[in-house]
């Protein structure tokens, strides 16, 4: 029996620690994020190409404004900080702080989506920015804007649902100082969404 146990342990060990100290799950999330980064990278490269090739591309700053999105950028960064604080809380078995910070992270995501809905509503119905045409210049300006920010908004929506699941599972006691890997993996996704927004904010709004 002890031999079997030893064999089992050895077997388990050979599958341990692929590239991260803790888990296959984390490696899986990283591989997914790398693929997702290529999706966003391709969209942004395509955006750059279309914009460079266009003679009448509007100045994004004049059409889109900058202050609301700057606030949204800040909001995502703050929610990333709440996320790491939530992870730190579960790592020291502080369940109240875990609930508070993951809850705040989710709230940050929901407010972000609210701001984006407000922005889209304003651009589409009050300023005439359409998917296939607009009064400012190149028609692809609207197309690329809605595809890129929409794709990111879908990621935020997915992140809010993902974190809600983590919060609910955490409230039923699924995680602790010795079992926090799923929280950390969800955090990776959330920080990635923040990271992508940093790039989108720069390329679509600022440049």
């Amino acid at each position: 029996m002890s031999e079997a146990a030893a064999m089992h342990a050895g077997h388990a060990e050979s599958y341990e620690s692929p590239l991260t100290p803790e888990s296959w799950g984390k490696l899986g999330m990283w591989v997914f994020l790398v693929g997702d980064a290529m999706s966003f990278g391709t969209l942004l490269a395509g955006y750059g190409g279309i914009r460079y090739g266009s003679a009448d591309w509007p100045k994004p700053y004049d059409v889109l404004g900058i202050w609301l999105t700057a606030a949204m950028t800040l909001l995502l960064i703050v929610s990333s900080v709440w996320m790491v604080k939530g992870l730190a809380a579960i790592q020291r078995n502080d369940f109240a702080a875990f609930r508070k910070f993951i809850g705040l992270t989710i709230l940050g995501g929901v407010v972000f989506l609210g701001c984006q809905a407000y922005e889209w509503n304003k651009l589409i119905f009050h300023e005439g920015l359409g998917f296939t045409g607009n009064p400012y210049g190149a028609s692809l300006f609207g197309t690329t804007f809605f595809i890129i920010t929409g794709f990111h908004g879908m990621h935020v929506t997915g992140g809010v649902i993902y974190l809600l699941c983590i919060l609910l599972r955490g409230m039923s006691g699924a995680y602790s100082a010795t079992n926090y890997s799923p929280v950390e993996i969800a955090g990776l996704y959330w920080h990635f969404v923040d990271l992508v927004w940093i790039m989108v904010f720069t390329f679509v709004y600022l440049i």
């Binding site: 391709t42 460079y52 800040l74 600022l206 440049i207």
Partner: protein, 107 residues
């Protein structure tokens, strides 16, 4: 073995990100050479992305191989831009040259 990163480190990173965001807006507002503006903004965005990946996503504390995997898309995307460049030059030429000849024409 669990990495309990100090929360003061996270706050330091937050202040860096905040400062870079404000700096980005300061750089973006005035009108000057577009290539310089683009270069400055992209550099700052990459800096912010690196801070998020290294500290919030803990890449700094993982094995190097994972960092190499995470870095790959950036390399491929830069490569993608260079692969698109010849086509883009042709399109830019086609669209800008007639535009100059018909100044004021509505598209």
């Amino acid at each position: 073995m669990a990495e309990h990163h100090s929360e003061s480190l996270y706050m330091t990173i937050f202040y860096y990100l905040l400062a870079l965001t404000i700096l980005e807006i300061v750089v973006a507002l005035p009108t000057y050479a577009p290539w310089l503006k683009a270069a400055l903004l992209i550099a700052m965005a990459l800096g912010k992305a690196a801070l998020v990946a290294m500290f919030f996503m803990h890449l700094r504390f993982e094995r190097l191989t994972l960092g190499v995997i995470a870095f790959t898309p950036l390399v491929i995307c830069v490569f993608l831009v260079f692969m698109l460049a010849p086509d883009l030059g042709a399109v830019a030429h086609k669209t800008t040259v007639p535009a100059k000849q018909t100044t004021g024409a509505k598209h």
